[in-house]
Structure formats: structure tokens, C-alpha cells
């Protein structure tokens, strides 16, 4: 939802943002869902049960502790950083090697 698919935080309107939920104590996550701090809406226990809230926290904690399964996680914000890396490290490295390849040897 608002905090990005991996809980890294997301943009709201007019410069507001939903902060990252990584590294937040489970109690605080629970309280936030229940009270709706600032722009965050209220998720009452009658609409999102305590059990369901605990599932959310369990997933967040899992994501927080999950090792990088495919390699460096690149901030877990998705295609933007991946594209940036492809252009800088990927293409950059290959162009650098191409320059070396076409330079006359000593």
C-alpha cells in the first residue's frame, strides 16, 4: 500500500510521505495501524482484526530479516534502481572494456 511493496516507504501528496516500516518495533507498527498517526488512516480492530494486524507485522519482520536472496537488494525500490545499475555498471563497464579493446597495445 502506501509504504511500498517491500515496506521501504512511499510518496504521498504535497511532499508528505509514508516512512519506511523497516526497523520499526512491532509494538509501534501495531499502534500506528490502530491509531492512524498523521496522514495514516485508522485500522480499527473491528475492521482489521488483531490477528490480521499480527500477520502484517510478521510479514514486515520477515522482509526486514530476509537476506538478499538474489544478491544486493538495491534498496528494494524496484525497476528504477535496476535500470540505473544497468546503465551505469552494466553499460558503463562494457563501454570501458570496449575502449580498452580498441586501444592499440604498447
Amino acid at each position: 500500500m502506501c509504504h511500498n511493496l517491500a515496506g521501504q516507504g512511499g510518496a504521498l501528496t504535497q511532499g508528505k510521505y509514508a516512512p519506511t516500516v523497516m526497523g520499526v518495533e512491532p509494538r509501534h507498527i501495531y499502534e500506528a495501524m490502530l491509531t492512524g498517526p498523521q496522514a495514516m488512516p485508522v485500522f480499527a480492530d473491528t475492521t482489521l482484526t488483531p490477528q490480521e494486524k499480527l500477520s502484517v507485522i510478521k510479514w514486515i519482520k520477515h522482509a526486514e530479516n530476509e537476506p538478499a536472496l538474489g544478491g544486493a537488494a538495491l534498496g528494494r525500490v524496484g525497476p528504477v534502481t535496476e535500470g540505473l545499475l544497468a546503465w551505469t555498471l552494466g553499460l558503463g563497464l562494457l563501454i570501458g572494456i570496449a575502449v580498452w579493446l580498441t586501444t592499440k597495445a604498447r
Binding site: 500500500m1 502506501c2 512511499g10 504521498l12 501528496t13 508528505k16 509514508a18 492512524g36 498523521q38 496522514a39 495514516m40 488512516p41 485508522v42 485500522f43 480499527a44 473491528t46 475492521t47 482489521l48 482484526t49 490480521e52 537476506p67 538478499a68 536472496l69 538474489g70 544478491g71 544486493a72 537488494a73 580498452w100 579493446l101 586501444t103 592499440k104 597495445a105 604498447r106
Partner: protein
């Protein structure tokens, strides 16, 4: 001073021809050549090391082993060394080949001549004559009946494959104008499928809602794609609605389609303080107090509002279906 290419003096800006060839160390010094050869060999051997690493990782490293690598964090060792081994194996073959070419293969520049792309005149005339003669043999020009009927046959045969595509899908009919929300349909939580009483929802709260399905009917993604609803509660005095829309709310609770009227993403971001709904795809912003009126972004229509009330058991139900199609626009959409 001469200004033409004749004689010994070239014009100052004329083509001096290929520069003098400069020899590389390996060309003149046999020890340098041997060194280069050794380097190429080492590079090929590094590739072999890579392959060995790959094989070892495949059979020897446990798939559940994690190692800490700076920058990368805790990484799966099996996956990492499989990849590094493969990368090494491939990369150093390339480096070896390139280094070999650069240091040991001859690097004298070679000149090849270009031909003009245009064919010689006699070839072109030959071609034109051939085509003219053979077109005359085909005789299309003298036989208009053949030409016309051929055109007809070839043109029409294309209908067959197009017609075969008809069963790709059903005709939309009135599908896009209808959802599973009817008068009296109960609102249930998503997840959980629990019916909702107004007292369940606090001011400042939001709940994702689906229509209640009978026990024998399964909810599919197609249904979710059109039925998804957001239930939001604010203080009743904060509404800025005309009387008809106000009558669709219940004690400060208002229901909107969660499917964005722009391009169909789930409008999931609700700002409690501003009472704005934000769609994360293209940042269309909807004002809940004014019946989801668009206040920013590319959406051209507000989110459809579902009229709600309570049934005789006190649970929230739809008062009527949506008065317009939900989701993105389409040609036949009667948008007011």
C-alpha cells in the same frame, strides 16, 4: 608552393595517407611476445578456475548457506558462487581472446575498396528490360478479367484468418457497466469476508471491502477487478456534497470504487488528515469530502460512489448498484 597533389609537396590540408605503422613491444621483442603469450594463457586458465568454481558451487555448496558480503549483506552462497563462477568462466575467455588479438595478432591496418552501391547502367537496363518482357509474358496488363478476379480472391481470402480470431474472447456486451453490487448486497471486509457494522469503523479509518458472495459462489480476480471498494469514515459535517450524494453516505461513512477511474490501478493510498485518496500509478488525487472529485493528476473523472445504508440487522449494505461504470473509460461509456 604547389597547391595540388602533384609533385613532392602536398597541400597543407591534403590527405597524408595512413600513418606510419608503430610496432608493439611484442612485435619486436621476443621476450615481450612470450610474456604476452603467458598472459593470454593465464587468462584462459582463470576461466577454467571459474568453471571449477561453478561446478563446486553446484554440487558442494549447501543451498541454505548464507554468507555475509560487504555491500550485499547476507547472501545465498550457492547462488552467489554459481553466478561468480559462471561469470569468471565466460569473462576470462573473452579477455584472453582480446588480449591475444591486441598483443600478438598483426595490427597492421588494412585497406579495402568500396564499390558504389548503385548498379552499373547496363545492369539496370538489363533488369528493366527483363522485368518488362516477363511482365508482358504474364500478361496481366492485357487480361483485366484475370487481374480483377485475382485481386478479389486474394483480398477475400484474408477474411478467413480474421474470422478465426472471433473466439479469442466474448463480446463485452454490457459487462463493463455492471458489477456484483446490487441493492441489498452486504459489504464484507477484505481480507476476512466479515460483514461490517457502522460502529466497526472509526473516524479517520479506511477499510477495503468486497461484496458478499453466496457460499456456493467463488470470488475470482475478475470480480475483484471491478468490485473492490474503499469504505472511509469522516465526520459528517466535513462532507461537501449535494443532497443526493449525501443521501448515499451513512453517518459519515462513504464508499468509493477502489478501481481508479484513470487506468484501473487500485487507489490504495488514503491520507487521513487531508481526506485525499492518492493513486500510486500516476498520482491522481481524489477529494473524499467532495465525492472523490479529482484535484490533481491525469484522472478525468471522480471515483464512482456506491450508495450505502444499513439493513435490518445493522450491517452496511449497498442501497443500489453503481450509477456508472467503474474503472477506466471506454468508448461506449455514458459519462456524465
Amino acid at each position: 608552393m604547389s597547391t595540388e597533389n602533384t609533385g613532392k609537396e602536398l597541400a597543407p590540408l591534403a590527405d597524408p595517407g595512413l600513418p606510419e605503422h608503430v610496432h608493439r613491444k611484442a612485435d619486436v621483442d621476443p621476450r615481450a611476445a612470450q610474456r604476452a603469450e603467458r598472459q593470454v594463457g593465464i587468462l584462459f586458465l582463470l576461466s577454467v578456475v571459474g568453471t571449477l568454481l561453478f561446478v563446486y558451487a553446484y554440487v558442494g555448496i549447501d543451498e541454505d548457506l548464507f554468507v555475509f558480503v560487504p555491500v550485499m549483506g547476507n547472501t545465498n552462497a550457492h547462488q552467489l558462487f554459481l553466478g561468480l563462477g559462471l561469470a569468471m568462466a565466460l569473462f576470462f575467455i573473452g579477455m584472453a581472446a582480446v588480449h591475444w588479438a591486441k598483443t600478438l595478432m598483426p595490427d597492421h591496418e588494412v585497406i579495402d575498396q568500396r564499390k558504389e552501391q548503385r548498379s552499373k547502367n547496363e545492369d539496370r537496363e538489363d533488369f528493366v528490360t527483363t522485368v518488362k518482357e516477363r511482365s508482358a509474358e504474364a500478361g496481366l496488363g492485357r487480361r483485366p478479367f484475370i487481374k480483377r478476379t485475382m485481386g478479389l480472391a486474394l483480398g477475400l481470402v484474408g477474411i478467413s484468418p480474421i474470422l478465426l480470431l472471433r473466439d479469442l474472447g466474448p463480446l463485452p456486451g454490457n459487462d463493463l457497466n455492471e458489477t456484483n453490487w446490487k441493492a441489498g448486497t452486504r459489504l464484507v471486509t477484505d481480507p476476512g469476508d466479515r460483514p461490517i457494522k457502522p460502529s466497526d469503523l472509526e473516524v479517520g479509518g479506511v477499510v477495503q471491502v468486497q461484496p458478499e458472495f453466496p457460499p456456493n459462489k467463488e470470488r475470482h480476480l475478475d470480480d475483484i477487478a471491478q468490485d473492490s471498494l474503499l469504505l472511509i469514515r469522516i465526520r459528517p459535517e466535513e462532507f461537501n456534497l449535494d443532497p443526493e450524494r449525501l443521501s448515499w453516505t451513512y453517518e459519515g461513512i462513504i464508499a468509493f470504487s477502489k478501481i481508479c477511474s484513470h487506468m484501473g490501478c487500485a487507489v490504495a493510498l488514503y491520507e487521513q488528515t487531508t481526506k485525499h485518496l492518492l493513486c500510486p500509478c500516476h498520482q491522481s488525487t481524489f477529494d473524499v469530502t467532495r465525492a472523490a472529485k479529482v484535484i490533481f493528476g491525469p484522472a478525468a473523472r471522480p471515483l464512482p460512489q456506491l450508495p450505502i445504508t444499513v439493513d435490518n440487522e445493522g450491517y452496511l449494505v449497498a442501497k443500489a448498484p453503481f450509477n456508472e461504470a467503474v474503472g477506466p473509460s471506454f468508448w461506449g461509456r455514458d459519462s456524465k
